[in-house]
């Protein structure tokens, strides 16, 4: 699931509760998937890529309903007004200069939206176990947190990273670290969770993480939630073509 886990968590889909009774790898992953769904949510965030040429920054506003309906609007100067709508398994892009709505299907969803992040990454529902076989490896302390270490092997070639190792807090089901590997077994990227915040009803959410490219020294992507509202009232027609124009 390469970045899917990370970005969907960050875009506001990954609220994780505090009880941890499930023990098998499948149950843990399933639990994480279940806990990432909300009735409605609104968030504003920033994605920053850094390399030796400096920093590139995108900002956005995002609204979501359940696990499938999303509307994202970019707010940084270069991309201002570009919108992405996902409803009923369909994805639409709106480019303000072209005044055109472009439906996306199949492979087109894999187009890069920002850095390593594809449209599919940022909008897909949670179906991790459909794409990966998971296996509990061991336990490990990550930044002082006791974590399960789970290996995930892709069941199809339709994912960019054939193997991942995720480290999930035993206490709260919060993702603490993730590693992405090539088919050859070479480590490609490492994700570090920087900040986890508690929200009103006691739920935890990752609000900042960094993904470092292991093949290019000094190259990383930082993802940060700047503002979050859980269960806001959203108009039904927010998730319609009308919101794109």
């Amino acid at each position: 699931m390469k970045l899917k886990r990370i970005i969907t968590v960050l875009i506001g889909l990954a609220i994780l509760t505090t009880s941890a009774s499930a023990q098998s790898a499948e149950e843990i992953i399933q639990k994480m998937d279940e806990l990432q769904t909300f009735d409605t949510m609104y968030n504003e965030g920033t994605m920053i890529t850094e390399d030796r040429f400096g920093e590139k920054r995108s900002t956005y506003k995002a609204w979501s309903r359940g696990s499938q309906d999303f509307l994202i609007e970019f707010t940084n100067v270069e991309e201002r007004g570009q919108k992405i709508l996902r409803v009923d398994e369909e994805l639409y892009l709106f480019y303000p200069d072209a005044e055109d709505i472009i439906p996306m299907h199949g492979a087109a969803l894999k187009q890069s939206m920002f850095g390593d992040i594809s449209y599919e990454d940022i909008t897909e529902g949670r179906n991790t176990l459909d794409k990966y076989d998971v296996e509990m490896i061991n336990s490990e302390i990550v930044d002082g947190e006791d974590c399960w270490v789970i290996e995930m092997i892709a069941t199809s070639r339709d994912v960019p990273y054939p193997k991942q190792v995720v480290k999930v807090g035993k206490k709260d089901y919060v993702l603490r670290e993730a590693e992405y590997y090539a088919r050859s077994g070479r480590l490609l990227k490492i994700v570090d969770v920087i900040k986890v915040e508690t929200f009103g009803d006691g739920r935890l959410m990752i609000t900042e993480m960094v993904m470092e490219d292991q093949l290019r020294r000094g190259s990383s992507t930082r993802m940060r939630i700047d503002k979050l509202e859980i269960d806001p009232r959203l108009d039904d027609d927010l998730f319609s073509l009308r919101s794109l124009y």
Binding site: V77, G106, K110, S240, L241
Partner: protein, 418 residues
């Protein structure tokens, strides 16, 4: 003669104002202005007539003032500046040219949306060839892929968009006649009301396919080689292993620009045009993608034999029966990309091939390189070297300049948005 009672009129206006005020206060009404600037710089080496080579600097500055903060109101004014106008549109070629490219508002009422000003409305489906784009006409084979946007035409219009569901709507559009510039007299000419264009389209989903159909009466040309008169169209977009899309349209009735009344099938059939496209993307490695796009434009009742280039530029030859657009783009880490785009004219066995290299170096800043090469004989649409057969100027109204593009162009440039 009918006259309107001023008291009744006042009441009606007062009621309308009350409704409008109520609506405005029920929604956030504040807006702020955001300024966005796009700069493009190009250094170009190209071959002109008679095998003479030129080196020119060119570019474009585009300043946009957009509204932000109010979800019910959007507005934008965009002005383009060109350092030197080589188009012949101004009396002094060295005078910088200015173009008010966009100038519009969009008001989002509870049950409909209003768009007014100079902008565009995208009808049909297609990247390069789009038979459904009857407003602006995406049929011309002369394209410049070194520009940031292909077919970026705008016009003064008023559009009403009425949703009929979450994924369906009806849209009406009205376009006033264009104000024409007479290069001979240097004056502007306003056209009569019968040159007005207007129409309606309906968009809906059906079984995973997006379908749209509509009609436009086109009173005057919005782009070169436009087709006027009654313009019905149908367009679709869906997925069948790869993304597929297409459209069909025709023109009937009086076409003042062409000087023909298309009131019989022989004439109408010449305007029937189909566009088809397919798009697919492959992942090539962990952080690169390969994109393929193939489009074609078919006009079955147009020319299927090669014509003399003089007839083509005079407009006597019409269109060729088929044009093809293939595109191959490879993108690496969202930072580097290279693409090959081509407009192919199979009828006269010629093509224009554009190879592009791009590097997104810093935020908003992209370095670019283009190589444009024509492949075809001197009488073809895309001649590699037309030096031996340069045609007469259309209508004998002028003279081709020595610096006209002639088959080969190499450009290095940059774009910066901030």
């Amino acid at each position: 003669m009918n006259t309107t009672n001023p008291i009744v009129l006042r009441r009606v206006l007062t009621g309308a104002v009350m409704v409008l005020v109520g609506f405005l206060f029920a929604h956030p009404a504040w807006s702020e202005t955001e300024v966005r600037t796009n700069l493009e710089f190009y250094n170009t080496v190209y071959r002109g007539r008679n095998d003479t080579w030129y080196y020119t600097g060119s570019g474009k500055a585009d300043i946009r003032l957009g509204s932000i903060g109010n979800r019910n109101m959007r507005a934008e004014a965009a002005v383009e500046f060109y350092p030197v106008d080589l188009s012949g549109g101004s009396s002094v070629a060295a005078v910088p040219a200015l173009n008010l490219k966009r100038f519009w508002i969009k008001a989002n009422f509870p049950s409909w949306r209003l768009t007014a000003g100079k902008t565009k409305v995208a009808w049909g489906n297609g990247f390069v060839f789009n038979s459904g784009d009857i407003l602006f006409g995406s049929l011309s084979p002369y394209l410049d892929f070194t520009q940031s946007t292909v077919r970026d035409d705008t016009a003064w219009l008023t559009a009403f968009n009425i949703p009929t569901g979450h994924f369906s709507y009806i849209e009406g559009v009205l376009l006033p006649p264009s104000i024409l510039y007479d290069s001979g007299s240097g004056s502007l000419e306003v056209q009569t009301i019968d040159k007005t264009s207007g129409g309606l389209r309906f968009f809906a989903r059906a079984g995973g396919w997006r379908l749209e159909t509509g009609y436009l009466y086109k009173g005057d040309a919005k782009v070169a080689s436009d087709l006027l008169g009654h313009r019905p169209y149908f367009s679709f977009h869906g997925h069948a292993g790869v993304d597929v899309y297409g459209a069909v349209s025709l023109a009937a009735g009086w076409d003042g620009d062409a000087g023909v009344n298309r009131d019989n099938w022989d004439e109408i059939s010449k305007t029937v045009n189909f566009s088809f496209g397919a798009f697919h993307q492959f992942q090539t490695g962990y952080d690169s993608t390969l994109t393929l796009r193939l489009e074609t434009l078919v006009m079955p009742w147009q020319n299927w034999n090669a014509r003399d280039y003089q007839e083509i530029i005079d407009g006597d030859a019409g269109y060729y029966g088929i044009m093809i657009y293939p595109e191959l783009t490879w993108m690496m880490r969202s930072t580097w990309y290279t693409s090959v785009q081509s407009v192919i004219s199979p009828v006269d066995a010629s093509a224009q091939i554009t190879t592009t290299f791009g590097w997104h170096v810093f935020q908003g800043f992209t370095l670019l390189g283009f190589v444009v090469v024509n492949a075809g004989d001197e009488q073809s649409l895309f001649a590699y070297d037309r030096s031996g057969a340069w045609p007469d100027y259309p209508d004998g109204s002028g003279k081709w300049k020595a610096y006209e593009f002639n088959g080969v162009n190499i450009t290095i440039g940059a774009r910066y948005s901030y």
